[in-house]
């Protein structure tokens, strides 16, 4: 809003003008809440599709035969812990601790990537060892499209947080990313280099909004993990 507020060192002062709305809630945050309400319906539709077909065809596929619940449980735990790191990133951002925020963001991204690797491994295992593909059965169709959509959400989240991590790097990093770092391949350099050094205190709001998205994607995974994986074990446990 005002340039003098944006240049201040006080993160709270930088964020204050954004709250001058009819409700006192920042516009971006409100829009994100509306998007998340909408996203609930996206996942609701996919989860219903999966559960309906599970009920219609209870015995065609026996998922517990190939599910690796220890691995999925572990990656679910990692994803939940990434939410903790995300919360710490937002907290650091609001305190104006940019270096701390960057470290926690990197942690969140790392945990997100572990989760995605778990999913890639799992899909690979299901396709190669269990013969479960998009067209092997309706279960394959609903399972891959549902968990795949969630995976895409996590991947987009990782991309989003990576952008903010790049933004939060100090300005002199731009030189490394453009010229020095040979290990960074070209597209990443082209995309991320212009972001370096752009983070301002008022962007704490943007990190918080990205955090809302990240937490939401985690919460959806709790529902998917329960509805797609855990309930399959109820008969084994005698329920």
């Amino acid at each position: 809003m005002s340039s003098h507020a944006a240049n201040t060192d006080d993160p709270h002062a930088a964020l204050e003008p954004l709250k001058k709305t009819s409700t006192g809630i920042e516009n971006k945050k409100l829009a994100m809440w509306a998007f998340l309400a909408s996203d609930c319906m996206f996942f609701g539709t996919l989860i219903s599709t999966h559960l309906i077909y599970r009920k219609v065809y209870p015995t065609v596929v026996e998922p517990t035969e190939f599910f690796d619940i220890e691995l999925t449980g572990f990656s679910s735990f990692i994803l939940l812990m990434s939410s903790l790191l995300m919360a710490l990133s937002v907290s650091a951002a609001h305190k104006g601790n940019i270096a701390g925020m960057r470290r926690f963001l990197l942690g969140t991204i790392f945990f997100g990537l572990i989760f995605l690797s778990g999913q890639v491994y799992e899909f690979n295992h299901f396709v190669k060892d269990a013969g479960l593909t998009l067209s092997s059965s309706v279960f394959g169709s609903t399972f891959y499209v549902l968990t795949g959509t969630h995976g895409v959400h996590v991947a987009l989240g990782v991309l989003w947080l990576s952008c903010w991590t790049a933004c939060s790097l100090p300005k002199d990093w731009a030189w490394y990313t453009l010229r020095g770092g040979r290990f960074l391949w070209l597209p990443i350099r082209v995309i991320f280099a212009p972001m370096v050094g752009r983070y301002k205190h008022e962007n704490a709001l943007d990190v918080e909004v990205a955090g809302l998205y990240w937490h939401f994607v985690d919460i959806v995974w709790i529902v998917i993990f329960t509805a797609v994986y855990l309930v399959e074990y109820l008969p084994i446990l005698g329920f």
């Binding site: 909408s38 219609v56 067209s135 059965s137």
Partner: protein
């Protein structure tokens, strides 16, 4: 609201030059570049309106070809397949490309003015919505030019007809991907409108002082964000069935076609209210103005609008009574459907109550509004008939249903949207539309519409099935079909005269004062057409019908005005990125259509997912550049004469944004 480093276009020396984008931001706000890069909600609203009117004419021509084919029994004017394509494209075009965007045109143009906002919350996202709408319409209609032509699946595209086996051509893929882009347009628009209405109201404009049209915009936006995901996912599932061999709706692999019906109507029924609630909002603005009375029962109209929206999610299966849902489900859905008659009836009684005892002026907008009440009620009555499952079983898939929904969609939505166009045209263009010609248009449309669609009730009762290419003379349907076709052409003539009139009035119409109708709401307090910055001052609201109170009310309810601060009024910068992002999406969707499909010239499948990936990368680059560019912004300094009666801004103020 915008959080950014500001470049002061008007200040002599900017403190620090900012190069945020890949190229310089466009500054020219006229001509083609000005239009392609605009972020002004008013220009975007006009863009929506022009696009919607074009598609209204296109869908209208499709309808007239259909009616010409049915004019006489056993005609072969067009082939059965072309006929199927025409009714599919007619329905899809009218719903997604004509009525919805025409409503969106009013959301865009009128709503920010009604709440005293400078613009919507996210001006660039608003532009993205416009481009996605236009490109979605283009994508859908591109299908005509490819082998197999347009989709022939009906506007609700029931499985298993949409399976690759039964609809092998690309038309269905164009339909799927076109609707996907249009869904994005509706969704980004809705997020924007919700944020704008909830967060950017002028000081003193509490929710229960909002003009009814703004209220209905809000409720419609909530319906959009909660209903569209169902069809988005259904379309994704259908796309996977057709391209990647899944079995969501494919019977062969165990899929259940009935699932498509559920998912489609979970979206489809709220969609009906997405089409009618904005119309109800427009009517609720116009009736008080021309009755010279406040809206009767304002809170009841607001709440019944919300109740209609809420119940809209609980009645989808009444479209599926004949599929055999079971007694309990059928009863429950019948009961809930009947329940919707209550809030709708409340609204109709309130509108009648508004007119009752008023000093009514029968101008063109008022005629369309009164026509709306009557015609919408007719459609509502047949709607109540369908809510009874045994009656519905008789009427399912007959012309009775066609009559019903055309009464609510033309007699309802279209009449109200025409009322809105006549009502707000002077505000948008600063020129008046001739009332006499307007009345001719109304009567032509009214007579033509009733002549076209009333006989369809009888046709349906006597068993004429919907979507039939032709019929035998012995069925006794000749007379009704003949007159129905005559009526449709009269309706078409009415709309044609309207188009000529609107073009004429734009260039040659008499100049309009800023408040030609003696209106009641805030948009009439600013210039006609409004300046780029909408209001030169921040309005402080003290009453529901603020402009009316300013003219006739007591001193205590008059509007206060706050002058812009010394920085002037903050304006967002124009941008190329919404257009580029939407083109990226368009390419990705087109690539999905071509995926493994024989395309012209090669007659062989040449594309995998290359085009899709290219399009998605373009979209991503567009979004990143969009974010890096930032909202930008500059300050405008309106002529002090425009806010001569305003109180000075407080010291820290920057005027309203």
């Amino acid at each position: 609201m915008a959080s950014t480093v500001e470049t002061e276009h008007h200040a002599p020396a900017p403190a620090e030059p900012v190069r945020d984008g890949i190229w310089r931001r466009p500054l020219k706000n006229t001509g083609l570049v000005g239009f392609l890069t605009t972020v002004d909600h008013k220009k975007i609203g006009i863009g929506y309106a022009l696009g919607a009117l074009f598609f209204l004419l296109l869908g209208g021509v499709e309808a007239l070809i259909i009616r010409a084919q049915l004019m006489y029994p056993e005609q072969e004017l067009i082939s059965a397949r072309t006929y199927n394509q025409l009714f599919t494209m007619h329905g899809t075009t009218m719903i997604f490309l004509a009525v919805m965007p025409l409503s969106a045109a009013f959301f865009n143009y009128i709503m920010p003015l009604q709440i005293g906002a400078r613009d919507v919350a996210f001006p660039r996202m608003n532009a993205l919505g416009l481009w996605c709408f236009l490109l979605g319409g283009v994508l859908l209609n591109l299908s005509w030019f490819f082998p197999g032509g347009a989709p022939a699946i009906g506007w609700f595209a029931y499985a298993p007809l949409t399976d690759r086996q039964y609809s092998p051509d690309m038309g269905t893929d164009f339909w799927i991907m076109g609707l996907q882009i249009l869904g994005i347009a509706s969704l980004v628009g809705a997020f924007n409108f919700i944020t704008t209405i909830v967060n950017m109201r002028a000081p003193g404009l509490s929710m229960m002082r909002l003009p009814l049209f703004t209220w209905m915009t809000l409720i419609t936006s909530f319906l959009i964000i909660l209903a569209f995901p169902a069809i988005t996912i259904a379309l994704v599932e259908l796309m996977f069935d057709r391209h990647f061999g899944t079995y969501f709706f494919n019977v062969e692999g165990g899929g259940k076609p009935i699932l498509w019906q559920h998912l489609f109507w979970i979206f489809g029924h709220p969609e009906v209210y997405i089409l009618i609630l904005p119309a109800m909002g427009i009517i609720s603005e116009i009736l008080p103005v021309f009755s010279r009375k406040p809206l009767f029962g304002y809170p009841l109209i607001v709440f019944s609008g919300a109740v209609i929206g809420f119940l809209g999610f609980a009645v989808w299966s009444h479209h599926m009574f004949t599929t055999g849902l079971g007694v309990v489900a059928t009863t429950a859905f019948a009961f809930l459907t009947m329940l919707i008659a209550i809030p709708t009836g409340v609204k109709i009684f309130n509108w009648i109550g508004t007119m009752w005892g008023g000093r009514i002026r029968f101008t063109t907008p008022m005629l369309f509004s009164v026509g709306f009440i009557w015609m919408f009620m007719m459609g509502g009555f047949t709607g109540i008939m369908h809510s009874s499952p045994p009656v519905d079983a008789q009427q399912q898939d007959t012309y009775f249903v066609v009559a019903h929904f055309h009464y609510v969609l033309i007699g309802g939505s279209i009449f109200a949207l025409f009322a809105g166009m006549y009502y707000w045209f002077p505000k948008v263009t600063g020129r008046l539309m001739d009332d006499f010609v307007g009345k001719i248009v109304f009567y032509l449309m009214f007579v033509g519409f009733n002549l076209a669609f009333f006989p369809m009730h009888i046709l349906g009762m006597t068993g004429m099935p919907r979507r039939t290419h032709t019929y035998k003379s012995e069925m006794g349907w000749d007379q009704s079909n003949f007159w129905s076709t005559i009526g449709a052409f009269i309706l078409g003539v009415g709309i044609l005269i309207f188009v000529i009139q609107i073009v004429y009035a734009y260039y040659k119409g008499r100049k309009s004062p800023k408040d030609p109708w003696d209106s009641r709401t805030l948009e009439w307090d600013t210039d006609s057409p409004p300046k780029e910055y909408n209001f030169a001052y921040t309005p402080v609201i003290h009453a529901r019908d603020q402009v009316w109170e300013d003219k006739y009310g007591v001193e205590a309810k008059r509007m206060e005005k706050i002058a812009p601060g010394k920085h002037g009024i903050h304006m967002p910068d124009q941008s190329w990125w919404p257009l580029i992002t939407s083109i990226g999406l368009f390419i990705a969707c087109l690539g999905m259509v071509f995926h493994k499909q024989p395309i012209p010239l090669t007659a062989e499948a040449v594309f995998g997912l290359e085009i899709v990936i290219f399009g998605l990368v373009a979209t991503f680059v567009g979004m990143v550049a969009w974010a890096l560019e930032g909202p930008g912004g500059f300050h405008l300094h309106p002529d002090p004469a425009e806010y001569a009666d305003a109180t000075p801004a407080p010291e820290d103020g920057h005027g309203h944004h």
